[in-house]
């Protein structure tokens, strides 16, 4: 006789209490994100003055830099939830890690594309072997590794744990990779071509970037919570809870 799970497995984790809570937070984050991003665009595109060195092209930083920040930040947050999952064996933490990955990968992709769009007018090449752009590319490979491992394992339980271990190993390697690429960059090119030296930051530009960054942060929270709710429904739809 096929005995569906009779114990309420939610009792062992807190997705049940988390689900409605996330539902409340999402609208606020979404609205906040929209407002801040609009305001950030307003600052970046309209108020900020022309940069004497790079002309108008520098305005790409208002999107490129926050995206690069969040691609790295979200990977570390994902590794954090992976560690929580492994330590407490809590289903919810694994789900959070799984939900963060796509957004992190999206920001990495955006950072790469905007980086090359910025490199073309400034240095005349679509791809610049700059230390940060190269580590961004490797970070994308780490995300690809995470997704492919998760897709390859059928048993959900093992997929969670295995990808959690991989996320942790990746997180330990991110600083090492960044350092080795920086070292490699200085060995071969000297630091003449370097995207990292942002133009002299007028206060208004920094402020614009900060506003955009907070807007991206709220956006990420909203999107990740929505995805976690989908995860909870998906995993629970197999359990026929509702």
């Amino acid at each position: 006789m096929e005995k569906k799970i009779s114990i309420n497995w939610f009792k062992y984790a807190s997705p049940k209490t988390f689900y409605p809570l996330a539902g409340k937070i999402i609208p606020w984050c979404a609205i906040g994100a929209a407002i801040l991003i609009a305001y950030g665009l307003y600052i970046g595109l309209i108020i900020a003055p022309t940069d004497f060195q790079q002309g108008e092209g520098y305005r790409i930083i208002f999107v490129h830099v926050p995206a690069a920040w969040f691609s790295m930040f979200l990977y570390l947050i994902m590794a954090f939830y992976a560690a929580m999952g492994l330590v407490f064996n809590a289903k919810l933490s694994y789900m959070m890690a799984t939900a963060i990955a796509p957004t992190g990968a999206m920001f990495t992709f955006v950072a790469l594309v905007t980086g090359s769009l910025w490199g073309k007018p400034m240095w005349g090449a679509w791809w610049v072997w700059d230390a940060r752009l190269t580590s961004e590319l490797i970070l994308l490979f780490l995300y690809v590794g995470y997704f492919s491992l998760q897709a390859a394992i059928d048993d959900k339980n093992r997929a969670d744990k295995a990808s959690a271990v991989l996320a942790l190993v990746g997180a330990i390697n991110v600083p090492i990779i960044y350092f080795s690429v920086k070292w490699w960059n200085t060995l071969h090119q000297g630091s003449s071509v370097s995207l990292t030296k942002a133009p002299a930051m007028a206060a208004i530009m920094l402020q614009g970037m900060m506003v955009m960054a907070i807007g991206f942060w709220l956006y990420s929270v909203a999107v990740i919570l929505m995805r976690v709710r989908c995860e909870i429904l998906e995993r629970d739809s197999k359990l026929k809870m509702f």
Partner: protein
């Protein structure tokens, strides 16, 4: 106001393609991500209703 005409604003000092390209890619990726999640939510709620 830094710009004095819409056309100048769009030209973005000659870097129009790159600047608008970057912003387009960013917000396009975001909307695609949102759209994907909605699709996923709809399909999950549909399977749950059965």
């Amino acid at each position: 106001m830094h710009w004095n005409s819409i056309s100048e604003f769009l030209a973005m000092g000659g870097y129009g393609f790159y600047v608008w390209g970057s912003f387009a890619v960013t917000f396009l990726s975001m909307t695609i991500e949102l759209w994907l999640i909605n699709q996923r939510r709809k399909s999950v709620t549909r399977t749950l209703e059965q």
